[in-house]
């Protein structure tokens, strides 16, 4: 019954010339498409499917595909930390300078890519002497893969570019709110072009002098090389700039300048934590070192957790509030601290390193407040001070079970293992860590003081008084971050004095009220 109805419909429709034309056009179009598809399959797919012998292509034997994939995935995660950094910094800053933070973060990234291609990578990762790499400028004349990792050089470059960019962005943290855009560009070229790659070569270059000590200095993923260098430059920047206008320090009866979006800041912190899973586990440069990447991921997680809790409770006992900002700074400090020792410590070690980081970050914030250095987002305590703690902690907590990472796993030969003081390894590793951290921090401080004061001499480091009061965003970039809202930068809440003791100051009743 149904079939006959269908047939009737078809015959009726076929008699209608208009309908007939439409159906034919539709069917014709499909036929043409089908023919084209089959032809394309014949040309492109058939030879591959029916070839008698496999094509003689594929990776050359020294390239390791799985290590390369792992390194690139990690590189992309590390790059995602840029998102975390700009959100953290912009959220913890006032709204009047948040566009500036975004522009600087993006432009610093672009500058870093160009300088690291042109000469930064050559300075840092190629042979030369103990202090600087000397060939491979513009990545020319280099081997196909980096060292024994089996990772193609360009993939390794992407990973290391993301690290250099992290260092560069850390730098801007303590300089938020008063650093001019041109000044930022000038010192950024100094940081990503010279300070980071040259001083980084000491520890990570194939022939770096810290790498060739009798007990070598170890910094697995860069507590010192990335974070302490970035934090130290940031400190000199904050000193060269001076505090933001209107910033009154605690000992002068003042309080902090308030963040414009602490939610954005904390989300940025969590994105950084996520990116750290590329930063630390990726630094094995090897997916074949399965035990290593598992151990590093675990230690990274645990240290961040214990540091966050330590900061949370420490500040709770001080002010009786569960403070979001300090907890964010706390877990970030834990991540920075575990970055150096994560490959060589036990879970207990990672937990204690995190606890230590949660404490030193608060002492660092207190110390900066006391010596009247204005660090709006806590870059110096989180990156420099927790970085020093983490680097030294390897000399205390290294278990002695593992040595340096190789393309296939940890080197566990007797001469290569890393053993700290608490595991019966004596003072040797702690001494090497102290030499590494001390020399790199002092050298960075010295050079970056020169750099910052040189930029300051050009008059571009700090913007003028009017520009700062008006806000960097409108002054340097011609835009407000939230143009649709009637927010006023000089809100009376910014920098109001802290209360003495637990009670807030009484406000006198307004007598003039009708």
């Amino acid at each position: 019954m149904r079939a006959t109805t269908l047939w009737q419909r078809i015959t009726t429709n076929f008699r209608d010339p208009d309908m007939r034309a439409r159906v034919l056009a539709l069917a014709g179009g499909k036929a043409i498409g089908l023919i084209l598809l089959l032809t394309a399959m014949k040309i492109y797919l058939a030879p591959a499917l029916f070839a008698q012998t496999p094509a003689p292509s594929g990776p050359s034997p020294e390239v390791n595909a799985i290590n390369t994939s792992w390194t690139l995935i990690a590189a992309f995660l590390v790059f995602a930390m840029q998102v975390g950094f700009v959100m953290l910094e912009a959220g913890f800053a006032r709204s009047r300078e948040s566009i500036n933070i975004l522009v600087e973060g993006i432009v610093d990234t672009c500058i870093c890519g160009v300088t690291f291609w042109a000469w930064g990578f050559a300075f840092m990762f190629e042979d030369g002497n103990g202090f600087i790499g000397k060939h491979g400028f513009f990545l020319k004349g280099l081997a196909d893969t980096y060292g024994t990792t089996g990772v193609p050089l360009l993939a390794f470059w992407v990973f290391q570019f993301a690290f250099a960019d992290t260092c560069s962005t850390v730098t801007s943290g303590a300089m938020v709110g008063r650093c001019g855009f041109i000044g930022d560009i000038l010192y950024s070229i100094g940081v990503t072009g010279f300070i980071y790659p040259i001083i980084g070569h000491w520890a990570w270059g194939p022939d770096g002098w810290l790498n060739t000590l009798s007990t070598p200095f170890h910094d697995f993923a860069g507590s010192t090389v990335v974070h302490s260098i970035g934090g130290a430059i940031s400190l000199t920047g904050a000193i060269a700039l001076g505090p933001r206008l209107g910033r009154v320090f605690a000992r002068d009866g003042g309080g902090p300048m308030l963040p414009h979006n602490i939610i954005m800041g904390a989300v940025g912190g969590l994105i950084l934590w996520f990116g750290w899973y590329g930063f630390n586990p990726g630094s094995t440069l090897s997916a074949l070192d399965a035990g290593g990447i598992g151990r590093v991921s675990f230690n990274t997680t645990l240290a961040a957790c214990s540091a966050g809790l330590t900061s949370l409770f420490y500040i709770y006992f001080r002010v009786k509030k569960w403070d979001l900002g300090i907890t964010t700074n706390g877990f970030l400090a834990g991540l920075v601290a575990i970055t150096c020792p994560c490959y060589w410590v036990s879970p207990t070690g990672a937990f204690l390193i995190g606890v230590g980081a949660g404490l030193v970050v608060i002492w660092g914030i207190d110390a900066l407040e006391y010596i009247r250095i204005d660090d709006p987002i806590g870059a110096v305590p989180v990156h420099l001070i927790a970085g020093i703690w983490g680097t030294l902690s390897l000399g205390l907590f290294a278990t002695g079970a593992y040595g340096a990472p190789t393309a296939t796993g940890a080197d566990t030969s007797a001469g290569a293992i890393v053993k700290g003081l608490f595991y019966g390894g004596g003072w040797a590793q702690l001494k090497a860590q102290a030499i590494g951290s001390g020399s790199i921090c002092l050298a960075t401080l010295a050079v970056s003081f020169l750099l910052m004061y040189a930029v300051k001499a050009t008059g571009t480091l700090r913007i003028g008084r009017e520009g700062e009061l008006e806000g960097l965003d409108i002054h340097e970039h011609g835009m407000f971050a939230y143009p649709e809202f009637a927010t006023h930068p000089s809100s009376p809440l910014h920098g109001s004095p802290a209360p003495s003791g637990a009670s807030a100051p009484a406000v006198a009743p307004a007598k003039a009220r009708a």
């Binding site: 605690a250 509030k321 700074n329 109001s496 209360p499 009220r513």
Partner: protein, 109 residues
């Protein structure tokens, strides 16, 4: 015709709005404001450091009513916004010369 301006706690806006609607007050303008009267400021914490907030967030409700309704409106606002604690706010009443309705050009006094 009188302008009633009530400065109230932010969490009392809905109650006051409802109370005014109940007595037939048709329109109002609500603004976020900050200020202080007798209420003490409070302490807030940012990155482990305490700071004082002396200008507190309040809401300002403005409505223009006929003279005969003023007392009833004030009573409605006061009942709805009151908690009995310091910081409940204030109501100001000022005379209005006339009002002009833009759409119709209607003039009321």
């Amino acid at each position: 015709m009188q302008l009633i301006k009530a400065i109230i706690r932010p969490n009392k806006v809905d109650d006051v709005k409802e109370a005014l609607e109940k007595i037939g007050v048709a329109g109002m303008t609500v603004t976020e404001v900050r200020g202080h009267g007798q209420q003490k400021g409070h302490t807030a914490v940012y990155r482990g450091k305490e700071y004082a907030v002396s200008l507190l967030p309040k809401m300002s409700i403005e409505t223009v009513v006929a003279d005969s309704v003023v007392e009833m409106a004030i009573k409605a606002i006061a009942t709805a916004a009151r908690t009995g604690e310091i910081g409940d706010g204030r109501v100001f009443v000022t005379p209005v010369a006339f009002s002009y309705k833009i759409r119709t050009g209607e003039r009321e006094s």
